[in-house]
Symmetry: C2
């Protein structure tokens, strides 16, 4: 394994086993609320609820799975309800869409605008969000060399997380 350098952040790590996830959610919601207030965005009860549901899974969640959960309290919810909330949050950087999974995750660092960088474990399906400046810069540098103005970049890496590759090695 290589070494981590400063400037390299893991926004949402693998294996969120023993953290206080209730607190984790409420912090994320509070951060989102603050962010919306600062930016004049309306953080409605519906949006709050959708964001809570996204965070409560603490991993990628599909729109229709989200819809099912939403219906527990809002029996009448329909697809546009959830898609609108998702679009709103994606537009403002509070949720990322993982293209290769058709799924959504809460962003752990919405204040700092960035493209999504994800490590997706093909075995345990866990997902880690990165915010690796070296990767982002390599992309921008290359685009720039071609006269391409990069506005939004997405990096999705499929492989095996340390826990899952360890299991085989050890097992």
């Amino acid at each position: 394994m290589g070494r981590l350098k400063k400037d390299d952040k893991v926004i949402v790590p693998f294996q969120p086993d023993r953290h206080d996830h209730g607190q984790c959610i409420s912090e994320a919601i509070a951060a989102a609320e603050t962010y919306c207030k600062k930016n004049g965005l309306s953080f409605t009860p519906l949006r709050r609820q959708v964001l809570e549901l996204v965070w409560s899974s603490h991993g990628p969640i599909g729109a229709y799975e989200l819809l099912d959960k939403l219906r527990v309290s809002r029996g009448n919810a329909e697809p546009p309800t959830v898609y609108r909330a998702l679009d709103f949050f994606i537009e403002h950087g509070l949720i990322h869409r993982i293209e290769s999974l058709n799924a959504y995750v809460g962003c752990g660092d919405p204040a700092r605008r960035h493209g999504g960088q994800f490590l997706i474990c093909r075995d345990c399906k866990s997902v880690a969000e990165l915010d690796d400046i070296a990767i982002a810069r390599a992309v921008i540098r290359r685009a720039d060399a071609l006269g391409f103005e990069a506005e939004q970049q997405t990096v999705e890496v499929v492989g095996r997380c340390s826990a899952c590759s360890g299991e085989i090695k050890n097992g």
Copy 2:
């Protein structure tokens, strides 16, 4: 604009305006046929036809658009026909799927296994495939630092190509 270095390749460039596209297609098909022969894969007439249709668009094409084209000569074709062919080629690196577009493009360099790296112009919808080792290495280095075995990486960059950003600048 930055400078290109050796090792940096643009596999499929923007603006394939004045190239002999008939030849471009037939070269790609010939390369695919050779590749399949070498690797004991059966390059059936149906698969050939699907690959030709993918290349003939010289850009990303959707599965159902492909199906429509296929039906010109195979009136009975159904979705699984085209998805199977696409899956076959994707599995063997001859076609890439662009996740953010739900679309497919022929790979310009199947012999060298690589993840897809795409610059997608939001205005003219053209797509350039890169094979930038610096980007790929930055991804692998970071994954490695986290004990993540990267197996497949996808990079999709949305922005504006030089032609489209030039149009605005020039008026």
